[in-house]
Subunit: 357 residues, 4 copies
Amino acid sequence: MSFNSFGRLFRITTFGESHGPAMGVVIDGVPPRLELDVEAIQGQLDRRRPGQSELVTPRKEDDRVQILAGLLEGRTTGAPLCLVIRNRDARPGAYDHLKEVYRPGHGDLTWEKKYGLRDHRGSGRASGRETSARVAAAAVARQILANQGVRIIGHVIEVAGIRAQQFDAQEIERNPVRCADVAAAPQMAEAILAAKADGDSVGGLVEVRAEGVPLGWGDPVFGKLDGLIAGALMGIGAVKGVEIGDGFALARQRGSDANDELTPNGFASNHAGGILGGISNGDVIVVRAAVKPTSSINKVQQTVNRQGQPVTLQVEGRHDPCIAPRLVPVAEAMVALVLVDTYLAQLSLAAAADIPK
Amino acid sequence: MSFNSFGRLFRITTFGESHGPAMGVVIDGVPPRLELDVEAIQGQLDRRRPGQSELVTPRKEDDRVQILAGLLEGRTTGAPLCLVIRNRDARPGAYDHLKEVYRPGHGDLTWEKKYGLRDHRGSGRASGRETSARVAAAAVARQILANQGVRIIGHVIEVAGIRAQQFDAQEIERNPVRCADVAAAPQMAEAILAAKADGDSVGGLVEVRAEGVPLGWGDPVFGKLDGLIAGALMGIGAVKGVEIGDGFALARQRGSDANDELTPNGFASNHAGGILGGISNGDVIVVRAAVKPTSSINKVQQTVNRQGQPVTLQVEGRHDPCIAPRLVPVAEAMVALVLVDTYLAQLSLAAAADIPK
Amino acid sequence: MSFNSFGRLFRITTFGESHGPAMGVVIDGVPPRLELDVEAIQGQLDRRRPGQSELVTPRKEDDRVQILAGLLEGRTTGAPLCLVIRNRDARPGAYDHLKEVYRPGHGDLTWEKKYGLRDHRGSGRASGRETSARVAAAAVARQILANQGVRIIGHVIEVAGIRAQQFDAQEIERNPVRCADVAAAPQMAEAILAAKADGDSVGGLVEVRAEGVPLGWGDPVFGKLDGLIAGALMGIGAVKGVEIGDGFALARQRGSDANDELTPNGFASNHAGGILGGISNGDVIVVRAAVKPTSSINKVQQTVNRQGQPVTLQVEGRHDPCIAPRLVPVAEAMVALVLVDTYLAQLSLAAAADIPK
Amino acid sequence: MSFNSFGRLFRITTFGESHGPAMGVVIDGVPPRLELDVEAIQGQLDRRRPGQSELVTPRKEDDRVQILAGLLEGRTTGAPLCLVIRNRDARPGAYDHLKEVYRPGHGDLTWEKKYGLRDHRGSGRASGRETSARVAAAAVARQILANQGVRIIGHVIEVAGIRAQQFDAQEIERNPVRCADVAAAPQMAEAILAAKADGDSVGGLVEVRAEGVPLGWGDPVFGKLDGLIAGALMGIGAVKGVEIGDGFALARQRGSDANDELTPNGFASNHAGGILGGISNGDVIVVRAAVKPTSSINKVQQTVNRQGQPVTLQVEGRHDPCIAPRLVPVAEAMVALVLVDTYLAQLSLAAAADIPK
């Protein structure tokens, strides 16, 4: 079935295992005649790749993107694009000690029982490395969206209970936490390093803002923009919660506070996070994802082996003490993939109904 | 496009407007030879229908289900089922005063601009009444799931900041709030009535628990069980946040606390909410949806009319001061629809790979 | 699964059994703001319905279409349309003698073994009556196509080996055979009545021409216009062959004869039948379907019963001695459904790529 | 959109251009735990690749398959397979003279107008070389089918009006025409070489037989086995007609001749070609595709250039004087892809309904 495909009009199909030959993606539905900026794709991959700071895993991957299909003289043709990222620092042997045991917090047990076998080499396709293909595909989506004036900005808004108090988009890529608050960033970094020193990990919140989305994207009743975004974000490993606009806080408000009143100049507030009735309302789209602490920790844990016997486990290997910073480009990617898809759907609807887009 | 369809193997397509002739659903992919309990479908519709207490809208609808297709002598045949619910208490004229104005918190503006016209009659297809078709379809799904030992229980866990402290499944349908805590239920009811008296509304949290789901449901990487559930719940009107297991609280924990250790007798805890790596792990699945306060309130609000001029609006008509109690069967329905779909997918995979299901 | 759905952007889902309560269809993807001509839908149903002449089955059905959803003041809204046709002359009891036996040439055996049960009442969903829902849906498609200048004309080009020598579109609906050749029509009728008198049946060829289709419809490599049309036509019961343009005759030609040369005024010939490389080329689209003789005959045949024992069978009941005339609107419908879908796809592509449509 | 994907449960997505870096395919839905025979994939590619005899194009491609994803120790894992075939003998410059002109019989004009640009390098993705990816994917499908006892045999049954009179499966791969009649094969070869000597081309008929398909594959009403096969075959470039069983000949028969009577030992005849009511009936499936003469010929033809001016054209370059022999493995591939998909669907249905498969 098409469980490795995402999107309807801009449809991606990803493939590849963490310690196999390559990661990759086929994108079907890219409009023809787009001048593709390959360096911009590489730029997004560079944001996601490992080894960028002491806050993240030291695995060394240059994550160079190759284009196998779909381009003619730098432009898309309407044919599918195929983007491939070779795995360079694969060390399948390094995971032999995990072959017989299920790591707590991981999908080891569930994947093995479901499929009747398991790729233990760095989690195979269950690895976070799988998201590189999503980021590559989304980098194409972002070019289409940018041409429509849409800009997607992700940042870490909370780590280990430390909340950012400011939002300065310029700061985000200046610190390894990807925090938009220059004061909170070092505190967050410190909390991550403290957890790392303990052989432990911490969680956080990632916020994604989409600016410039015009009114009209999203397709009720089962293609609502909020539903699609929530599904897309919750489908990232480590994400355990999603909220839009004021989200969970709205559950404690009254309607008279929660409603965004309308004025001739637009909405007076944005509690709704830019989406009304499942359709973008022209305001900034604001969503947040709750990121659990990385499951791989160096502490001793109780678990069972394939025979069901109790064993203790201390996970060795390379991992991120807090995955939130590297999850930022991935969360942005999923929002971009949803947005480009709803954009194309709305373009189609407007063309067919003769409505100005 | 198929924006009114949901699911892959158990695929529903809903239709109908709040004040049109009928609501309905076609279900494709129902396994043949199922003895269909039509009264059980009616029972679920009865739980969702309006007019059940003073906490909800007084619209009078008996919501009787009719079966137009797919049954032979009480059994399914492999052909699509078509379930139809006639609208009895439609009052399209009652909404004429809303024709020229956009209600805050509603999709009035976005639907009208998107589609180039808007069904103002009780929101047309944007009405919560649209969910009756989902509930009817899910009632079929629930029969299939029940045959597999799966039971889905929803309840209101919080209203207006009042949190249930106990979970007694027996209590849920005994009080109009659908709260599983006998002590908290009357407090919640009081808060709802207080808001109603003010012409206002309140929000809350709905929790859904799925018991008896075996290990193996959910299909990485884009058919993960958590991603599908999140998308399904966020696609219900009024839901603004979704979390699974400990959800947002996990963002503030350390990995050593958040991981569920394994023992020969199963997991030692269930912070993950029954899903690991996007696949059910055999534990209880626990999800929560944040429900915003009903947008329709009787207070005076600022808004604009179709000409973009500022107007004040006081919404008349029949609505729920808190939609959480009636959202319980809808949230259950969406979880059931996702589960039956992942069940059929896993059945298919296991059959093809010769894995015991 | 969605085996009862057809199309991608204009997506129909049909339901209903021949002797159940109703036939129907949900259409998702109808552009909003279309002024729907309901009488035109009825007109197409009237062309397909039984009882029109002595050449066809005498079952009496008025096939009145009802619209359950999707219309507001005569216009589409972007919500799904639901069209329902009640079965009036259902006689489920009339088929009891077929409950235990498999008719030759029918799907009785295959449906029963596949689904583990069989709706023996006039073949249930395997009945040709199922196509009424397709015709209703296609009548909506035809209105969209007509607005683009596309006209779809079907006719019976051959019956029992008698081939039409002329094409006069005016003649088609003037004779019960739906033959465009005023001279051949009565010969064909005679051949049909002769077979009927023998308790036998005859086959024929149906041709469909689509005029006014602009260059650009169809989407390589798996959404080619010819592939879609062939699949659509072969999916009609009784159709056993499909050809496009010169079709099978091309297999015996040389390239220098078969190629359609281009001139400044268009193609010099149309051997290709209006499709090149899977995309419409602006010329008339011409396709033909081979229709087998009706399987239900009054002659004694050898078959087996459900116990696998040999029995002789003489099928009683109402059926068409030649189904080709009533298949004309069905074949047109399938071509229309494919065309509207490729039209919407091309509209979408052109809008996204900024190509004049 | 997913126009480069085919299948539902066994879903392939192809990519690549004739003179780009590579051809390839991602296969989603391969059951896990399959021992994959990579050499068997190569064997099928070898049958399709160019340069095998003087009857076909002399382009030199070794068509070596590489597996980028989806295998663990020789077995499938449930993750998508990615198969890639590098283009070795790409000569994009050799097509510069075709940049400004539209070849008769080709999709040059339609692709350029549709997409707003055209890959003139050996037709880009419109090249027959695109089918290599289908053949590779189908080679995986064939292994799954072979495990179920299904064998797919294609052969050239007619070339230039010369019809095979015998069917000896052993002969097929022994002669370059892939004809199952040892006497007709050299006559066909002679006809092809005669056309080649004239700078011309000839067409033919390809027949595919699928033996061992059990009763029950195919899913009415829009997933009928015959509809799927017809769509799949007509979606191969150069195919202009498809028939099943006796096909067009049935249009001239009477029902009493055309019906296949049933006996306790199975069907007494197989006019239906192994499919009844859209479902396989356990008999051999027999389909035929009409293949037009290759459009690329060395004769002078009239056409127009991009400015719409008349020009004469004599196509240089490497092409097949008759494509039927090389189309055999492609037609087999499309049948295999359809069959494996309907097999998985039936497996799923049977598992869900507790029907013995």
